[in-house]
């Protein structure tokens, strides 16, 4: 295949100076496509001028970073971001821009696409290189059909991808990153006055919005052991939830119950501790990205849903797991 001169861009969504994990999935996918086409991967970051983050982008596959300067790195200014990205896209004409289908990523993707009349492919599930350009697969008909689509002509394809759809890929060889700093463009007709981010106390984070859930069931035996699950959740940046039995036993408030008569959750990671896996519970968590189940009973139904089934005593395991996770994360380094 002859080398393509048009870059592949990835929009970096971030909070508090930390790119959302989906960024690295998209950079890995962009790298894979760029290697096939012989082109470059460019990360586009607003207000994230940080050497450590840039090194992370390079390790994940970026050749270059476009850093747009902002006064508040957490604030998302939709009009100005769209004007900046669309302006640059109009001159540089990338082949493809990948946006995470996050609250901000999906919003910005549509704004950019409509500014330049570029084709928008929301919630793509697969990207391939075909004879006549990039083929993008996305769901139609409430997800019951998949459509294989492509951009008409040579227009830049604007694509959003949800977290965990493509999965993380190895970044390959380390790259020397070229960093380009740019001012934020002013929108011609700004329509939205955006305020700053209102943070959420991890202790009150709603399970329906958490990326990681550690869930407690009757198998934890006592309220004190539920605290171990809460500690693991806090360490992984997630929240504690549980079964109706755990709620009925007074170990958790009702607002943390997952299942038929509780919440429906879709976290990236669900760790079920001492949970049997009754249908009334699993109906609320079956769409979790990765499920780790910890249960002493090798025949527990929860294992049927699990990506990793650990047949072990959760009360014995949790303190060790917390310690080992802490070490792996390096959270005891400070």
């Amino acid at each position: 295949m002859s080398a393509c001169t048009r870059d592949i861009w990835v929009f970096v969504d971030h909070f508090d100076g930390h790119p959302l994990p989906v960024t690295f999935e998209l950079l890995g996918e962009a790298r894979r496509l760029a290697d096939l086409l012989g082109t470059r991967v460019v990360a586009c970051a607003f207000g994230l001028d940080d050497a450590e983050c840039c090194a992370g982008f390079a390790a994940a596959g970026a050749d270059s970073v476009q850093v747009f300067a902002t006064t508040d790195s957490n604030a998302y200014l939709p009009d100005a971001y769209a004007a900046s990205m669309a302006g640059l896209c109009g001159t540089d004409e990338p082949l493809l821009i990948l946006f995470p289908a996050t609250s901000r990523g999906a919003d910005l993707a549509a704004r950019v696409a409509l500014t330049g009349n570029w084709p928008l492919f929301p919630r793509a599930i697969d990207l391939r290189i075909g004879d006549d350009g990039i083929k993008i697969t996305r769901a139609l008909a409430s997800g019951r059909a998949h459509a294989v689509l492509r951009a008409v002509g040579s227009a830049t394809a604007i694509v959003t991808v949800a977290a965990d759809v493509l999965g993380a890929a190895a970044g390959g060889r380390a790259r020397t990153l070229d960093i380009v700093r740019r001012p934020l463009a002013a929108a011609t007709t700004p329509r939205i006055a955006a305020g700053g981010v209102i943070r959420c106390d991890p202790a009150t984070l709603d399970p329906g919005e958490a990326a990681t859930i550690v869930a407690a069931g009757r198998g934890l035996g006592a309220r004190d052991n539920v605290q171990l699950a809460a500690d693991l959740a806090a360490l992984l940046g997630g929240c504690l939830a549980g079964t109706r039995v755990a709620v009925d036993l007074g170990w958790l408030p009702r607002s943390r119950q997952v299942g038929q008569t509780g919440k429906t959750v879709r976290p990236r990671l669900y760790i079920a501790c001492g949970i049997s896996g009754a249908t009334q519970h699993t109906i609320g968590m079956k769409e979790a990205g990765t499920v780790i189940a910890i249960n002493t009973d090798p025949a527990a139904p929860i294992f049927r849903l699990a990506d990793l089934a650990a047949t072990v005593d959760a009360i014995e395991l949790l303190p060790l797991l917390i310690e080992k996770c802490r070490r792996a994360i390096g959270a005891d380094a400070t």
Partner: protein, 297 residues
């Protein structure tokens, strides 16, 4: 203040049984298509109806573009309490370019003098992420997305948006505006059968014929083919670099980890199992990054 609220209702198709692709390769055999109503659209309508009940909107009109599925969606809208419904009959129920369709709907809403439009902001197929923006761009309106809470004032709207991990942000915008609401999976809106039966015979549904509908802008997206969805969700690829010997792989070789009915099964002393879980989390990129933990503290 007299303000009419418009609510976008999407014709949503589903497939009964297995997808059958028509002979042209790019359309669905109509025999396997059924119409469904997306709860997210009904939630958007609920918000508009609550504002009407509060006296902040004088009237609520639902709008949909399409055929049988659009009629179904609008009938549900009327059954739930909308005053009026408009169907744009020039378009198909299924679209591959929601931006083009949104622009056409926006043009019609502009002709109707719309200043406040509500829409679902999320759907399995992603259309709901594009339509509100496309409508707003044609109406020359502000588009606010992922909205959880809304306040109307004389100067416009103040909304609270949902961000990842429980975060929120507030946006202020003037009218005209398109409000795309955050999906709320635990909030189901029920439509009574009696109300549906009445709505099927009401005269409140206006059909705008093909000649009176705004022309569909040329599509920027080409459809190459349709296929049934993968039966099983794609498994996550792991971050393991090729050839890297992980604790996990070592343990598999030692028989601590076994492949069992599609998942990994781990058993043994708790310390070994803990090592396996950490290794698994790290392979899947599910451990928080060291820098983020360090800075969070």
């Amino acid at each position: 203040m007299t303000l009419e609220g418009f609510v976008l209702m999407r014709p949503v198709l589903s497939i009964s049984g297995r997808l059958r692709v028509a002979a042209d390769g790019v359309s669905i055999d109509p025999a396997c298509v059924t119409s469904v109503v997306d709860n997210a659209d009904l939630q958007a309508l609920d918000v508009a109806l609550a504002l009407r009940a509060n006296g902040e909107l004088t009237r609520v009109t639902c709008i949909a573009a399409g055929q049988a599925a659009a009629i179904e969606a609008l009938t549900h809208g009327l059954a739930l309490g909308a005053d009026h419904a408009i169907r744009l009959a020039a378009y198909e129920d299924l679209t591959v370019d929601p931006c083009a369709l949104g622009r056409a709907i926006g043009a019609r809403l502009g002709a109707a003098g719309a200043r406040l439009v509500f829409a679902a902001g999320g759907s399995d197929d992603g259309d709901a992420e594009a339509l509100p923006h496309a409508i707003a761009s044609t109406l020359d309106a502000a588009c606010v997305t992922n909205v959880l809470g809304l306040r109307l004032s004389a100067s416009g709207i103040l909304v609270e948006r949902r961000l990842e991990q429980g975060r929120r942000e507030r946006w202020r915008a003037g009218l005209p505006a398109v409000v795309a609401l955050a999906p709320q999976p635990d909030h189901t809106t029920y439509v009574s059968c009696a109300a549906l039966a009445v709505a099927r015979h009401t005269s409140a549904l206006d059909t705008i014929g093909a000649t009176a509908c705004p022309p569909l802008p040329p599509s920027a997206v080409a459809l190459d083919g349709l296929k049934p969805p993968r039966q099983r969700p794609k498994r996550l690829r792991t971050t393991a670099a090729a050839g890297a010997e992980t604790a996990h792989v070592r343990a598999a070789a030692a028989g601590v980890v076994a492949r069992n009915a599609g998942h990994l099964a781990v058993t043994g002393p708790a310390a070994d199992v803990a090592d396996e879980i950490v290794s698994f989390l790290s392979l899947r990129g599910l451990l928080p990054r060291a820098d983020s933990m360090g800075r969070r503290r």
